[in-house]
Amino acid sequence: MAISTNHATSLPKTCLPSFTALKVPSKPKNIHLGRPGFKRSSISCNVTEQISTVCNMNGRENDFTTLQRPDSVGRFGQFGGKYVPETLLPALTELEQAFHSLADDEDFQKELGGILRDYVGRESPLYFAERLTEHYRRPNGEGPHLYLKREDLNHTGSHKINNAIGQVLLAKRLGKKRIIAETGAGQHGVATATVCARFGLQCVVYMGAQDMERQALNVFRMRLLGAEVRGVHSGTATLKDATSESIRDWVSNVESTHYILGSVAGPHPYPMMVREFHAVIGKETRRQAMEKWGGKPDVLLACVGGGSNAMGLFHEFVGDSDVRLVGVEAAGHGLDSSKHAATLTLGEVGVLHGAMSYLLQDDEGQIIEPHSISAGLDYPGVGLEHSFLKEKGRAEYHSATDEEALEAFKRVSRLEGIIPALETSHALAYLEKLCPSLPDKTKVVVSCSGRGDKDVHTAIKHLQV
């Protein structure tokens, strides 16, 4: 889940006056969120005095059904916002206005629906994983019922296309002729190149030179689809440098160019837009669950890198307090090692990529290079709405190591004949800990966010198949 990194706005903490940690403000018990008098300045942050405690929602549905997420300035509680250079603010405002106007535009909705159906292949099935369910059945015959939401069947093989399609249609509406994106492993780049080919737009993908070498096949794929892939050699020549370059490009070409951001992070309105374009996942799930067993899911389980597939599944059900939301991050070599990407578990609040969220940073506020065997979870930040849901206690976040993910990858391949992406495998890995605790016949829906064809080399190497 490639994200834009904006060096200019991912403030090292030492830049900020007189404190070393950007702390979380104490939470008011009421639900009035947003900051009256919050200035829309180019870079700002909140200084607080104490770390808040997690708010226990006590199952009060009202809090989430009526809550405006985000509020009018793009905040989810204290998270979110628009920490960007002045030059980008008009573009963000234009984007937000265009997005809101399209929500009511029937032609747009019809066009989007048609493309999701005929091009992407929606709706994706809600598949009852019989052998996986049997695997987790306890000796007394009881156990949860496991369903996979098959985003792996989408065109290009993951959920990413939902957002790429939505954003490219939006860009066309805005009269943009040029699309830019950055990419780490290449999946977001491929999805972007795909939609640009489909709609005849010029496409430039920025990729760190190091990543280009490691992911040469994806570079080739993007070029086959007609995209220009530009190597970035500055810094560590990886994702964050590619992102800086993208931002630079966008700042200089804001009139003609739309920046397709890949996940629910970044400055407002991106997190909201990306979530809305993925929300189809949850909407379909609600309807399919009703058809299949006449009720709602009891537990929703998804992997979290930036958080877009998780938000896509969760969003529809955030207001249903009887639906448990579980996100699984990458623990890499283990939470004790320094090689992981478990932002919500081990991170602290700060500003990254234009928004306030949890992130992996050291004592000097420098971004820690994350690690996960799955490139899509290899991200030092996390979607700010996840930060919000965690803080509110509405969603719970756990993690799975590289090894646990590989085991799950193999298990699901062998039991269901479905090869999940390594990212998805993190969610599937968590079933080991989750299932024994679930009452009989609990309905669990796992977001099968992508297929694992791209991970076959890695898996074979590690699993020695």
Binding site: R117, D118, Y119, G121, S124, P125, L126, Y127, F128, E130, R131, R150, L153, N154, H155, G157, A193, T194, V195, C196, A197, R198, G200, A216, L217, F220, R221, R223, L224, L225, G226, K410, S413, R414, L415, E416, G417, I418, I419, G452, D453, V456, H457, A459, I460, L463, V465
Partner: protein, 456 residues
Amino acid sequence: MACNMRTDLLAGHLIGKRRTGDASVVRAVLVDRKTIVKNILGSSNLIIRTLTKPQVETVERDVSKGRFGRFGGKYVPESLMTCLGELEAEFNSALRDTEFQAELATALRDYVGRETPLYFAQRLTNYYKNSKGEGPDIYLKREDLSHGGAHKINNAIAQAMIAKRMGRKSVVAATGAGQHGVATAAACAKLALECTVFMGTKDMEKQSSNLRLMKLLGAQVKSVGGNFKDATSEALRDWMGNLESSYFLTGTVVGPHPLPSMVREFQSVIGKETRRQAMERWGHKPDVLLACVGSGSNALGLFHEFVKDKDVRLIGVEGAGFGLESGGHSATLARGDVGVYHGAMSYLLQDEEGQIVRPHSIGVGLEYPGVSPELSFLKDTGRAEFYTATDEEALDAFQLLCRLEGIIPALEASHALAFLNKLCPTLPGGTKVVVNCSGRGDKDVETLFNHKFHSM
């Protein structure tokens, strides 16, 4: 020992006489009861059941006996006859069993991801418009979106379910490009069946990504020197050694009856959906159906529904490889002669001595020296037309679809797309063309990358 194939016994409809020689693969078979057949399956001499009466060509297909005019049949050793009879009975019973059908429908919907879209390829349509702005409307039937990335799974899941129904514990299959191998491995994993896939060493090199996928899905992959035809012979041999416990899961519409009919039946969902989707979309049937032809499973899957609709044109495109004159191609219907291969009578690529010619195509799934008996029949009766596309034309078409529609097609499907160049200028404006996009090209990207595809 050379044997003569007495082709004149077949009511004079076959072309010429030829000798078959010694070899370790399936040979053309005799129809004279007195003659011993050499090397039907492997190197043993087996007496096969032969026809006692001259074959009378019928215009109508006699599907219950597996005959399509003079094509098809069951040219197999006695030991297989019972097995095939059993399979046919099971197949017919499954077709009538509402519970089986419901279970299959659920699997197709939730596991495979059906129905696949009928996608209007706007930019491809525009590309083929002439200077007056007229041209056909091009639709793609998106079998590339199926689980596993090709149409093969439609058949694999259904047959794996039949294997279970018959109480078999293990499945054996042969694969060329690997798509059938992957589909079979996936279906077996889902249904808890042991799976062994035979694959030619040449194919393993060319489609190594599929090889890895099969292993991850838990299948045992056995290599066989050569390519698909050799893998098939080996798989059949393996099956014959385990007839009680094992199930031969055929991937395509060749082989002895009832295999071609079974596979065609399970693939026909493609055409059935297309009819309904076409009706919804433009209130009528398609005008032209276009599909690539290796052995013919995706083509028949699309065509079958419309065979009786004479106003629907059926067009198959084979692999011309390096060119039809080069000798390096897979254009069985264009250049083959009639003979018996892998248990059925059909067109096949054979030399003057009846030796099977090794086919070539950049689309590995098209590299089969035989072809479906049913397609042979459709060709002979003039119901369907068959053309070819070279490797180069297929690569150009591959590139075009990537750039215009953001869809990376399989190299096999690219042959059908390549034919649009010749077809579109001849079609009146507004003609509805449905191309079977039979698979996605991710498996080919790696091969092309490794061979440094130069037009980048």
